[in-house]
Amino acid sequence: MIIDAHVHPIYFDTICEDDSVLKFRSEQFGIYKQSPYSYEEIIAEMIYGKIDRSILLPLDLTTQSGGCIVSNEEIKKIIDRHPDSFIGFASVDPYRKDAVEVLENAFANLKLSGLKLNPSKQRFYPDDKLLWPIYEKCREYDKPIMFHAGLSWEPNALAKYANPIHYEQVAVEFPELRMCLAHFAWPWVREMMMLMIKYPNVYTDTSMLYMDSFNDFMERIFMKEMEPQTLERNFAKQVMFGSNTPRFRAFKLKKAIENLPFSEKVKTNIFGGNALAFLGEEK
């Protein structure tokens, strides 16, 4: 089972019926010159890349921008149509007065599989106690959290909120809560490693390409910023394959990771086993 743990379905045509919604999404997400694509196209690319399932991430920006990049209901709509291809996460704006109720609905009624939060875009520090009821709700339902971490390409999204250092207290106080700090928290790769060494409930993903080619960047991160054996020895169960589609094309990133000299066992973990553990489907 190959899982892409980081996909933003903003151009899935199932949820692109309204041009004004699409414009809002494009501006808030900061991605341009792309058009909606059909399920057939999405599946063609997944088949070509030998990717079985993708985790779909919404984002609730109600108090910051007056809407959602993708809403929980839109995620539910996609999942209902294609349950074998996609795994749907929820999102909630922590500043909403009804934040906990929104999350309760997402888990209890919409049956979504986890929570997506973006501290940079939603403008909160992860260790702000405002978030504690939200983390409690995830713990209650045994649902993982996918946090944005590190640099964000989105407009009005400050990296200071997404420094790994702000996640440590969450990892300490919620040791049962599985949390992924996406994008290897680039450029804070060392800080990301620091958290993963100490906290086994902390995961990261590979959805990063901030300069150069896929091959160059993956080699820089996994062979130069860390020693070639570092991931194999220390983080074999904490790094998930994630693409950040539609910013990057999943099969190209996947190929660059396949080219790295990891053992087959570790590659199996990266490409699916760790995502299943993160989702709570494989203890």
Binding site: S38, A44, Y48, W153, P246, F248, F251
Partner: protein, 142 residues
């Protein structure tokens, strides 16, 4: 008379030759244009239009030669974040293969049919798939 008909094609590979001959011939036959010219033009910068013989071995040689001329893992400058897209460029091989192939082909139309050799088939060559592509069939004549 001038007539424009778009064709939509979905590729399923990163690099793929898609034979669109039959479709183009049908469009010309149904266009109402008896004598003139037809141009087949791709709407993209990472696809090509080429004419060649529809033999599997020829197609394989074309694709393998393209790969040798423009290897995927070479060091390209078009490999960085593009703010105007909000995405990272990483498809230079597609652009270069497209440049080698060209973006169009032309044939005469006579008695409502394309005039061409029996081996001359029309290919849309995908160089950065899989994706849905658009090709324009532009006919001019009387």
């Amino acid at each position: 008379m001038v007539k424009l008909v778009p064709i939509s094609c979905m590729s399923k590979q990163a690099v793929q030759m898609i034979n669109i001959t039959e479709e183009v011939h049908k469009i010309v036959a149904e266009s109402g244009i008896t004598n003139g010219m037809v141009a087949v033009i791709t709407a993209h910068t990472t696809t090509g239009i080429t004419i060649n013989e529809p033999l599997e071995c020829v197609e394989t040689d074309i694709l393998q030669r393209l790969e040798k001329l423009v290897p995927d893992d070479d060091k390209y400058i078009h490999a960085h974040f593009l703010p105007s897209y909000g995405a990272t460029s990483n498809n230079s091989p597609g652009h270069l293969k497209s440049m080698l192939l060209g973006n169009s082909c032309m044939f005469p139309i006579q008695e409502s049919r394309i005039v061409c050799g029996s081996a001359q088939h029309i290919y849309l060559v995908e160089c950065d798939g899989p994706q849905t592509r658009k090709v324009y069939v532009q006919m001019m004549g009387e």
